[in-house]
Symmetry: C2
Amino acid sequence: MAADRRPELVVGVDYGTLSGRAVVVRVEDGAELGSATHEYPHGVLDRQLPDGTPLGPDWALQVPADYIDVLRIAVPAALEAAAADPAQVIAIGTDFTACTMVPTTEDGTPLNEVEGNAGEPHAYVKLWKHHAAQPQADRINALAAKRGEAWLPRYGGLISSEWEFAKGLQLLEESPEIYRATAHWVEAADWIVWQLCGRYVRNACTAGYKGIFQDGTYPTRDFLAELHPDFAGFVDDLLQPVSGQLGTPAGRLTEQAAAWTGLPAGIVVAVGNVDAHVTAPAAQSTEAGQMLAIMGTSTCHIMNGGVLREVPGMCGVVDGGVTPGLWGYEAGQSGVGDIFNWFVTNAVPASYAEEAAARGLDVHELLTEKAAAQAVGEHGLLALDWHSGNRSVLVDHELSGLILGLTLSTRPEEIYRALIEATAFGTRVIVEAFEGSGVPVTEFVAAGGLLKNALLMQIYADVLDMPISVIRSEQGPALGSAIHAAVAAGAYPDIHAASAAMGGVERGAYHPDPARAAAYDVLFAEYRKLHDYFGRGTNDVMRRLRAIRREAHAGGAV
Amino acid sequence: MAADRRPELVVGVDYGTLSGRAVVVRVEDGAELGSATHEYPHGVLDRQLPDGTPLGPDWALQVPADYIDVLRIAVPAALEAAAADPAQVIAIGTDFTACTMVPTTEDGTPLNEVEGNAGEPHAYVKLWKHHAAQPQADRINALAAKRGEAWLPRYGGLISSEWEFAKGLQLLEESPEIYRATAHWVEAADWIVWQLCGRYVRNACTAGYKGIFQDGTYPTRDFLAELHPDFAGFVDDLLQPVSGQLGTPAGRLTEQAAAWTGLPAGIVVAVGNVDAHVTAPAAQSTEAGQMLAIMGTSTCHIMNGGVLREVPGMCGVVDGGVTPGLWGYEAGQSGVGDIFNWFVTNAVPASYAEEAAARGLDVHELLTEKAAAQAVGEHGLLALDWHSGNRSVLVDHELSGLILGLTLSTRPEEIYRALIEATAFGTRVIVEAFEGSGVPVTEFVAAGGLLKNALLMQIYADVLDMPISVIRSEQGPALGSAIHAAVAAGAYPDIHAASAAMGGVERGAYHPDPARAAAYDVLFAEYRKLHDYFGRGTNDVMRRLRAIRREAHAGGAV
């Protein structure tokens, strides 16, 4: 039949911080035939709820219905862009930001959609960059250290305020009613799969990296009770047993999801995954020592290693957390592109906006062009890239951004460059932490939206003093999800075979310049000194200012 | 005769950083009858000379012809605004920024006006905020400390890079040709008087505070030779003996200056003075313990004291340096309004400019309004106000600005408020240095352009936990110059009598709020900690970044 000769397709859907992207991919060779993006109508709620209810500092929420909109709008648009017949599609795979948590009823209805909850902040999705649970994370860490919990070293010695337990404890302590109304505390990665196939399948990746699931178990009831008596049942009552391995089917597309997406009911829905981890096979970077950095609003570092080592300040290490048979390491930087966007939105004067508009550039492009004209150190600035806290290696979201060296002649492009450099220094701290712990980084591979900034990539190569390889795809996570969908549908025997056929990478796309690398060594030493002074307890001024800020927002100030 | 019954007038001319202001004042009661301002056509040269010759970092030059323009344009305009008959004017007085240095020929011609010198940076006026002579200042300080020079403690233990000797040594070392061509190294305060009366009269105020003239002598030839063999004759050859006491006549208005100004030739020209010091009688703040802060682009603190004490990091103490019979102390902050202006020019987005324009506000007013809505500490920020270096108490222009506590939700008005607070903390450091040295500050009196910002004034009152008195005049330095002119012309027996009749102040215009003062105590402790960490040698990163920046600008970087 003619239909049989048309190529098989898979759909990957990547849920990012501000939008969801669907891509239609040819199973045979990974060709991306069409894609579409849908911005979340509500974006990130960090000042107030849709009804105007104000939010405290460091909050970041989302609206789950926005995720469904991506299925309804971006998936059909991608199919149309690909000129694809939906009947060709054999499977759909998804990935999500993490740790992003949805409190739901028994049937998976998000609590913010339950009548009477629209004005209750805790009923909404807590986005990965919701950083208001640091006090809870501090207590989890202190108690785990005191008790010598075996899982703690698997997370570099520190559990993040971004993760399931800290956010869950904050929920319990700040809104016991919503906590009691929560039947499931669901990773958004699993919630979207639940919406697609009608089954709640907890994926091994988020459970391992964000849910403290190690060696087959969660933290004990005893540990939880010591945190808070009412938290004792958190695992038993609110978390799902782990049932979904990466690259396997979670179920089949429901009639309702078929109606949303225009895809055939009954096709394979792959187990959920994390946007960073899912990208490794898309970048053909699954060998031990290949560190993949997915550089966007934040940066995630994903690397397989042949050995289990306790890397101080890493996000986590999970057996098979990226691909089977290797130890999957994760590290990250909470704010990268977010910092540049914050700067452009809040700190670049009208004259730059006008010049950019007149020349048909966006402001980032204009600042990058001007910054590229500077020699290393010419701006005299040094920044700490902690505007969104520090995920690795300090694991502290009470930290904050710093810029130093400002003079009356400092210009916006100089600060912009210093911010780029600060994020590169932050990456170097992570690379050195792995290497210092016996997990060598043999190759640095970059993916994500920041790839388009060649200056930034060159600065990273110079600061790291390493060549940088670059993913071929411009939509790595979505392609990675599609690759996982192909494996789940049985089109390839395993993820490695699928990666080889469908992924792609340009090796050594950027090379360090020896003179610039040497100049950056000097500046990195200064960065490291400030990093340790402010980040390791010598001067906890950032934490104290956060506390004062919280008190002021709570109405306790004058 | 009818003419005799018209009131006697004096003209005061205040030379600021960006413009000169003339005011016509009634001798009898200090009434300001008319004024006019003229902006210097060339402003501050900090990137390049008028012919495009590039300048290094930390340079700040001016063009002397701009000063003459003020005489030609602002003085006649002020007379016209006052509806004054020039025949009523009995004297003219002037004040100037300091230390601002003009290299001249034997007859006072600025070297930049000598043929062939238009492209030579060192031939121009070095403005007070020219901060490129820090290496020279460092050597002067080290040598003076080593030799135990008696004058060093009179300057708080440190000579500033802003002053005559550091700038002169930089001139010698970087441009020996221009140094050799310099017949006189003239304070602009004296240069303008020279243009008015045709005589070079060196005033005691700048000589004492900026020229290391103490107890009747300058630093020795021996000391100078040890700095640099060719510098041995700096005092003997380039500096004028001190001949002009404050409030005395320097000479009579020349025909040429009469033609420029429209004033009668032959009227009294008062000895030159510094913009800050000249203001004290205008603010009726000449008693011991009354600290007058002239708050504009920078802030100068002027205070008479009954005793001679060595205050660490003060700018200087000069016997009769402000008014006769008391020890005149000076301290200062190199950047205050300059920092706010830098911020508005370089770091406030288009949306704010648009909102301000739509509401008929300037951007400062809009930011102030938004900042006023914040509680103390609500922004979570802390800044160091060293964008233009630190004049007191660290006396180090290699220091630089810092902001800390930045988050992805930080808004421009929050940074703006943090910058205001940082300058208030800087003032408090100075007040505490005086008090800790046995020179009590009994009253804080404010003058200058920043008075118009009521939020800023209230923040200062809260941070200092002191009431703030406010000068009556909106043009304090120009009024102060007029008062000195009246004394020089013999209209009053001394400066105190003239001050009582012609000056004015509102006592206790701002009062601290106890709760806010207590909240600021906490933040000030954090400021002090960072101040000492970065400013007193624990981490000299700011100095190192400056050195790297200089090297990069000099072409030594990559």
